[in-house]
Amino acid sequence: MEYVNPLTGFRVDGRRPNEMRQLKGEVGVVARADGSALFEMGNTRVIAAVYGPREVQNKGQQVNSKDALVRCEYRMADFSTGDRRRKPKGDRRSTEISLVIRQTMEASILTHLMPRSQIDIFVQVLQADGGTRAACINAATLALADAGIPMRDIVTSCSADLNYIEDSAGGPDVTVGFLTKMDKVTLLQMDAKLPMDTFETVMDLAIEGCKAIANYIREVLLENTKRLECQRDH
């Protein structure tokens, strides 16, 4: 299958080869949570809620008392894919993605500032259309920022970039998590075989994407802060 139509230079959905999907981010969508965000990348739509820092509920889980405990739960809504099917909690895939998100976020949160406390991140996929992992990480970042949790940097993620039809056609899928200001990669996942030099270009493309997303997230946060400032003045 051709990802890019050689006659027109466009992908099937009308984007150029290196264009990103349309982004949309919104904070404060779950009133009860300490921080929450809705993040969209094209048709993929993810909601994230953050609770904490709060007291560790189950002391047994605490590894060391000097750092905050970060927990993450990833779930796909039953209605998130075309065929509605009950998804079991704790299946292999969601356990793996939970772990991936937790590790990525842990790398950015300044956990040593919040000893003996825990931070819970809940990520729910409302609509899945490829690149859910990346969308989840972006949503989590936005929610953490909304909750006012101290972070080293904004961690963003971008999969070089295949929407759902392309993904299921078996093309290469590279997901990269990236600390934009520190120029550090915190996550790198790939599910296909790729020649080394092609990989480099795909990786560069993904990092470019991460930077663009980081800019967008900053904009969203800035706007949100301005709004809050406005509200305080009145």
Partner: protein, 900 residues
């Protein structure tokens, strides 16, 4: 710039599912016209001074593709909606239009109307997808007109009356194909226009009144009939030698259904998927005796295609001969009638027009009958305005339709071929990929650390006389420890043919060079084949070498592979090399090398035969061609010398070594060659012939077969060769494949008794070898593996194409030999000795060893069912009862040959 829009679509993947896809609308899509100043695109294929810019609709592309391919038609805008529809409806046409769009010489532009902000249309409630697409085409046309302004005329070409009317109502210029082409005032073009059939039917009625054809059943009825078992589905295969008989292999009955006569075939073409209704059983019998007769016809031209298992009816010979001998036995073969066509296999066909007088009112439209070269294809009626041009020429015709009332299908002519074979010259894009000529060895090549300098080594080549494309050379140096260093050097074609270039694509398409009598159709342009790559004597050439260290007992101690620079010291012919070896007075180093190689080759050959390699035989014929008239002057069997076998042995060894190396490095994407073991049924004719002369062949393995072939000797010197020729005909064809597609045990090469085999030694004339060279270079880490190899299905596709081209090339050379043999005997009737190879009910097939040709001998006048003669199946003998005249298989007869 980005606007997102999602739309909803229902697809049926087993069940109904709602699919939501992102659909981006944009404002940065250029219109592709040179006269447009607003888009600011870099490339604009549509010329500024075009009389009109044409927007075509889907049906125009689907039906008038031959017209669009004509260079007189240009400045075409293809909308993406049209391309998508064409792709869904007919992939072959889509590929052709795609090629047109990417051809820089043509002014075709693809406009992504579905993603343009101003031309995207949403489906309206109650609107069918067809109507929506038509509307999208009109909207895009109108946008073009308003975008380009009044100076440029934008014309919508559509044959859809309704669409045209709506377009004109909306203020768009619209015309039908015919009226547009007429306005161009080029009469030749009008022939390419596919005319709708409505007008012709009346004329056809006058021409012949044979209402034998029945209307095809509607599709719904066919599917229902198939489901409840009234009809049977299968691919129709027309008997190659009797176009009035066809077979449909049906899975539902597990047997082949025979179809007699054009009326029962009911307008089906060879290769169509058809639905068949069985005739009542009492009609089977009557047709049966008719078959026996036709089977004779079938076998009559058997030498035209000895191995075409695909076309020959899959029938066991016993049934056929019992039917012939006892014509009143009840047949078991079902007979049927075509009721409908599920999938057409209409193609373009090559042939010529039936000779006819020029019609009185010339200049107008003439109707002519086209006769295909392929006898399985019925005559096709075409309309032309240039009859005089086309008569007595080879042309290609495409089929358009076959009306119930007409006797012949109607079509239109596509291309005129001046010669018998279309030998397209290489395009300028391909030629641009050649290295600058004259080519010489550059210092960079010598400095390349991956390329070993072997110019000091005494390398030489041995080839057929007059060979100009030398792709292999050898060397053999004695080592101090008593061993030999033996090298096979193959022309380094991949140094000049880089993956992804037009040159590479063209070569990949051609797949192989085709050798005809006195002519060669090259896979690569001549400068490469005959000069730059050819390992000629006394010039420095680039090579890819396999170098072994061998003991005097031909055991390989080590193998290495390297790119190299060589300088051949002699380009010998087989005869020359043989003469040198045989002349005991010669003791010069070159001759000593040859003798060493020969003794090694003999051991290797012996060992290979021990393993069970088959020595098969075929009767290859050699012609002496008159340089003026191209008529054959002399004909003889190609003689095989020891020198040939010596070269062959080392080429085999090199191929096997390379196969091992590439498979070790790339277990999933190596291109190898395998030769499947023949099945019991395939060997059946051989066994029957052999047992009739009291010979017992053991076919349990290739080794057993090889041994029993070796033992097949009697006082007749030619007997063994004849049996080998018959054995060769029973074999399957060796094929290329991608190693990832099969398991290791399937890699086996039966004929060579090698567990691994590939083609490495002739990259100048075979594309497979080019691929293998690339694999080997990647295995040695001196080059990167081209992306093709990461795509399994694509590699399989390449392998399939190579197999197809290879087979075609063989058929073409065989046909060429055939033709020249006929020309030769046209003027030289003669008596000669022949051998009977097959017994039939009313005659037998003879093989003429001297000329390697085969033909039928009738014992009865044609049409007679052979009643006087009795076939003895066990002894393969035909006898006339009451006399002692009989003919047995493998018997020698004297025959007289002349042109009929």
């Amino acid at each position: 710039m980005l606007q997102s829009k999602t739309f909803v679509k229902k697809t049926r993947a087993g069940r109904v599912q709602k699919v939501v896809r992102e659909h981006y609308l944009r404002d940065d899509i250029s219109c592709g016209a040179a006269s447009c100043s607003t888009c600011g695109a870099v490339e604009h294929p549509l010329s500024a001074d075009a009389a009109a810019i044409l927007v075509v609709d889907t049906n125009v592309v689907l039906h008038q593709i031959d017209l669009l391919e004509n260079p007189a038609i240009d400045d075409i805008v293809l909308l993406s909606v049209v391309l998508d529809e064409v792709k869904n409806k007919n992939l072959a046409v889509f590929n052709r239009i795609k090629a047109l769009c990417s051809n820089k010489a043509r002014r075709f532009f693809v406009f992504t109307n579905e993603h343009h902000r101003d031309t995207y249309v949403k489906e309206m409630v109650g609107e069918s997808p067809n109507d929506r697409n038509d509307r999208a085409i009109r909207v895009a046309t109108r946008w073009y007109q308003s975008h380009l302004g009044e100076n440029v005329k934008v014309l919508l070409i559509t044959n859809d009356r309704d669409n045209k009317r709506k377009a004109i109502e909306e203020g768009i210029n619209a015309e039908t194909v015919e009226s547009y082409v007429r306005s161009l005032a080029q009469p030749g073009l009008l022939d390419l226009v596919v005319v709708s059939t409505s007008g012709d039917v009346t004329m056809e009625d006058v021409e012949d009144l044979r209402p034998s054809k029945k209307k095809h059943k509607p599709m719904s009825e066919i599917t229902a009939g198939l489901r409840c078992g009234i009809y049977h589905q299968g691919k129709l295969r027309v008997n190659r030698y009797n176009p009035f008989e066809a077979y449909v292999g049906s899975e539902s009955i597990g047997d082949e259904i025979v179809i007699h006569g054009r009326s029962n075939m009911n307008r089906a073409f060879d290769g169509d998927i058809v639905a068949v209704e069985l005739l009542p059983q009492d009609q089977w019998h009557e047709s049966k005796s008719f078959i026996a007769d036709d089977d004779e016809d079938d076998e009559e031209d058997v030498h035209l295609a000895p191995n075409s298992a695909d076309d020959a009816p899959r029938k066991a010979n016993p049934t056929q001969s019992t039917a012939a001998s006892s014509a009143d036995s009840v047949s078991s073969r079902p007979v049927g009638r075509v009721v409908g066509i599920i999938k057409r296999n209409w193609n373009s066909y090559c042939g010529s027009l039936e000779p006819m007088p020029m019609p009185a009112g010339s200049g107008g439209v003439a109707h002519a009958l086209f006769v295909s070269k392929d006898r399985r294809i019925p005559k096709i009626r075409i309309q032309t305005r240039q009859l005089g041009n086309l008569l007595d020429k080879r042309i290609i015709v495409a089929v358009d339709s076959w009306d119930v009332l007409s006797r012949y299908p109607s079509g239109h002519y596509v291309v005129l071929i001046e010669n018998d074979i279309n030998t397209r010259p290489f395009s300028t894009q391909v030629l641009a990929c050649l290295p600058p000529l004259p080519w010489t060895l550059s210092p960079e090549d010598l400095a390349n650390p991956n390329r070993q300098d072997l110019r000091h080594v005494r390398v030489f080549s041995v080839d057929p006389p007059g060979c100009r494309d030398i792709d292999d050379a050898l060397h053999c140096t004695p080592l101090p420890n008593g061993n030999f260093e033996v090298g096979v050097h193959i022309a380094d074609v991949t140094n000049f043919v880089h993956p992804g270039t037009p040159l590479d694509e063209e070569a990949s398409q051609r797949g192989t060079s085709v050798y005809l009598v006195g002519q060669r159709i090259d896979m690569l342009p001549k400068p490469l084949t005959e000069d730059v790559c050819s390992l000629r004597a006394d010039v420095e050439r680039l090579a890819f070498s396999v170098i072994w260290e061998m003991t005097p007992h031909a055991d390989i101690i080590s193998t290495r592979y390297t790119k190299s620079v060589i300088k051949s010291c002699a380009a010998m012919s087989y005869v020359e090399a043989q003469a040198r070896m045989d002349d005991s007075r010669l003791v010069d180093p070159l001759t000593v090398d040859l003798r060493n190689l020969n003794s090694l080759a003999k051991i290797m050959r012996h060992r290979r035969c021990e393993r069970g390699a088959l020595t098969l035989a075929s009767a290859e014929v050699k012609f002496e061609i008159d340089s003026e008239t191209h008529d054959p002057l002399d004909i003889g069997i190609y003689q095989i010398r020891e020198a040939n076998q010596m070269i062959e042995e080392f080429m085999l060894a090199a191929n096997i070594s390379v196969a091992e190396k590439i498979l070790k490095h790339f277990p999933l994407c190596s291109l190898l060659r395998r030769h499947p073991s023949p099945t019991k049924e395939m060997l059946e004719p051989l066994l029957r012939t052999a047992s009739s002369v009291g010979l017992n062949l053991d076919v349990s393995s290739s080794k057993a077969l090889a041994e029993s072939l070796d033992n097949a000797k009697n006082d007749d010197p030619y007997f063994n060769k004849l049996i080998r020729i018959l054995a060769t005909r029973c074999m399957t064809q060796a094929v290329y494949f991608c190693s990832g597609d099969l398991t290791f045990s399937e890699y086996y090469h039966y004929g060579l008794a090698a567990s691994l085999y590939t083609h490495f030694t002739s990259p100048i004339r075979r594309y497979a070898d080019v691929i293998v060279h690339r694999l080997l270079a990647a295995a040695l880490e001196i080059a990167k593996l081209p992306p093709l190899f990461q795509d399994g299905p694509q590699l399989t596709g390449v392998a399939d194409n190579l197999n197809y081209r290879h087979r075609n090339a063989q058929m073409a050379s065989r046909a060429s030999v055939e033709l020249h043999t006929l020309i030769y005997f046209r003027t030289r009737p003669m008596d000669t000795e022949a051998r009977i190879v097959k017994i039939k009910a009313n005659g037998f097939i003879v093989f003429v060893p001297k000329f390697g040709i085969e033909g039928p001998i009738y014992l009865t006048p044609k049409g007679d069912k052979g009643g006087d003669w009795v076939v003895d199946e066990v002894h393969q003998r035909v006898t006339k009862p009451g006399t002692n005249v009989s003919y047995a298989v493998l018997q020698t007869v004297m025959i007289h040959m002349e042109k009929r």
